[in-house]
């Protein structure tokens, strides 16, 4: 089954006619994703690439195509509104890729997402991909992935590709890769994704890639210690980052001495996670762990 997205995921894209939306939708189609609808207000009735119907509203798109997941490429000032529209239309999984959404917009959006029982991955994330189902919602390069039994979760984009690249070279395929996003408020956190991987019969082990700022990794460590039976390999980016400076991502900042890489490494280690201090060692460490546990 993998997690979040699979063969039966019927994808719609909000912002399909914009620059980023159209480029990535072509890539998603090429990869094999079942992209069933696009939404751009005012362009209803047109077709994307001559095949995918475009609607004015998400509600129409859902009613006509049965779409159950939305990938969002709407620009930052309008992205929060787009998320609300998708959730209200009953879309189960919303994946806003957009970087730069004001965080105060997300306060109210999060309250709505939660009250409707929808699942959100992102914003400011590369998306979700399940290679075995040829299903990709997002901007990651499809060709570096291969089907397999390792789950990947990360707050970063290209560092996730780095981890996936290392796994693929070693012949270790992925069940699902989830880019959680680099913002302070994201819909799916490490704990949520770990819970899904723990319950997934097609995942044997998980690589988690954290970074400085916030306490999502510490929360994950506590959850892993209490509930996780599958091995977890972890790397935290930003051991050399100076305090008080925002390192690219809105959420990557050590504030008031909290959220350092060292604290996160130690907390994860204490929870029995297989920690790697070098970003070059993620794949190798996973192979060692799998061999030691007889999973390879």
């Amino acid at each position: 089954m993998a997690i979040l997205v699979h063969e039966h995921t019927r994808v719609l894209c909000q912002g399909i006619t914009g620059g980023a939306g159209s480029f990535h939708c072509r890539q998603m189609l090429e990869y094999g994703t079942r992209l069933v609808a696009g939404v751009t207000p005012g362009k209803g009735g047109q077709r994307f690439e001559g095949a995918v119907p475009i609607f004015d509203t998400v509600a129409q798109a859902v009613a006509e195509t049965g779409a159950n997941a939305s990938v969002i490429f709407v620009p930052p000032p309008f992205a929060a509104d787009a998320i609300c529209e998708a959730v209200d239309a009953g879309v189960e999984l919303v994946v806003p890729i957009t970087e730069g959404i004001p965080v105060n917009d997300m306060l109210a959006v999060w309250a709505m997402v939660r009250s409707r029982g929808a699942r959100m991955v992102g914003p400011n994330c590369p998306g979700v991909i399940t290679p075995g189902a040829r299903c990709k919602l997002g901007i990651m390069p499809g060709h570096i992935h291969r089907p397999g039994r390792i789950g990947v979760i990360s707050r970063s984009g290209t560092l996730t590709y780095e981890a996936v690249g290392q796994l693929t070279v070693l012949g270790l395929g992925q069940s699902t890769c989830v880019g959680l996003g680099g913002d302070p408020i994201v819909g799916t956190r490490f704990v949520d994704a770990l819970e899904l991987f723990e319950a997934d019969s097609e995942t044997d082990a998980v690589i988690m890639i954290g970074e400085i700022g916030g306490s999502a990794e510490e929360e994950a460590a506590a959850w892993i210690q209490a509930h996780m039976t599958k091995p977890v390999v972890a790397f935290i980016a930003g051991a050399t980052a100076p305090p008080g400076r925002r390192m690219g991502h809105a959420g990557a900042i050590i504030s008031g001495g909290k959220g350092t890489a060292e604290d996160k490494f130690l907390t994860l280690e204490a929870a029995g996670v297989h920690v790697v201090r070098s970003p070059a060692g993620m794949g190798h460490r996973m192979r060692e762990v799998l061999q030691a546990q007889g999973l390879l």
Binding site: F23, H24, P76, P77, G100, I101, P102, V103, N104, D105, L107, A108, W110, A111, P126, I139, M140, P141, I144, S154, R155, S156, G157, T158, L159, T160, Y161, E162, G165, G182, P184, I185, I209, E211, I212, G213, G214, S215, A216, E219, F235, A237, G238, A239, T240, A241, P242, R245, M247, G248, H249, A250, G251, A252, G256, G257, R277, S278, P279, A280
Partner: protein, 421 residues
Amino acid sequence: MKVHEFQAKQLLAQHGVTVLRGRAAATPAEAIEAARHIQGSLWVVKSQVHAGGRGKGRVVGEVPPDVIAQAARGGEGLPGKGGVRIARSTSEVGDHAKALLNKTLVTRQTGPGGVTVKKVYVEEGCEIARELYVAMLLDRSRYQVVVMASTEGGTEIEEVAARTPEKILKAWVDPVTGLGDWQAREMAFRLGLVGKTVFSFVKLLKGLYAAYMAYDASLVEVNPLVVTTAGECVALDAKMTFDDNALFRHKEVSALRDLSEEDAAELEASRWDLNYVKLDGTIGCMVNGAGLAMATMDIIKLEGGEPANFLDVGGGATRENVKAGFEIITRDPNVRGILVNIFGGIMKCDLIAEGVLAAVRDVGLTVPLVVRLEGTNAERGRELIQQSGLPVITASSMEDAARKIVRETTRVAAAAGTERS
């Protein structure tokens, strides 16, 4: 984005927060004029710099170097010599302004280099009965704005959190209803406020929250919030920072940006949509993506080097951006070697290679350069580099790249040392 105290107070006052009368001044004459305008018999002259810890700061040239060094580490207060000074006459206001303006102030937050004081804020004095602390910011684990208050006004909140965490009161704001009067009242009573002061506190707290939301702040901190002998709550100091992602809808806030407080290289980088943070090491790096950029700094350190910067060229970088990034890195005099680490997803490695090669041709290359390309069109990118005939070293993995640049940088440094001797 940060603003100065006097700017934060102007914004807060518009939302009903009580502040004292004051005026900013850039010269001693302006400071004296401000004091006359404010009237009264007691004034406070406050350095306007973005760094905190001003009261315990020291002015370079006014005290011996060892006292300056102590101030950078967070020394004790020394009345009359800090970045915030009390005056009992207008001429004393002028003296203080003269002692502070265009001087270098060193505080625990500025580091040993200090910052130049370009403006002072002259404010009326007040009779203080109690000093409290209040702040608002995003609670990243609850996804709600948290209001924090403490009886320990004047002390840094990190210090209170470390020593007496039970003294920090917290209330979380439901985004649907906003901050309730009941929440503010409850906090007031728990702080031990009585009578009309309770309602003055509620008004101030609601004003802070209104301003927080209205301007898309990411932090509002009032330390100290004072209760005057007349029982009124006043924001004696104010700090506001803003969500950069929301500045597009707040022209009035963007207009308050003080470019002189920002690093010139970081400013130039932001014009090219590059995310650059200057560090103290010798190996410059250029990477696509924030996480990979941090990881690249980390691996340089693990291999025995020190990163000179964080530089994320972003997902949609062009040949021109890459070239600009390269120029910013090479302008840093500490840089002894450069590592380019690209995992091309959307970004095509051959375009990156072209940008780097163009920069090398234009700017010249005086230090070793290692390039690691992986992902989309990586093969083509590596070919371009090899065919260029330029002395660019290619690497096959992140580890290989870090190892090579550290080795090359060390070798060049050793060679330079031999030449000198």
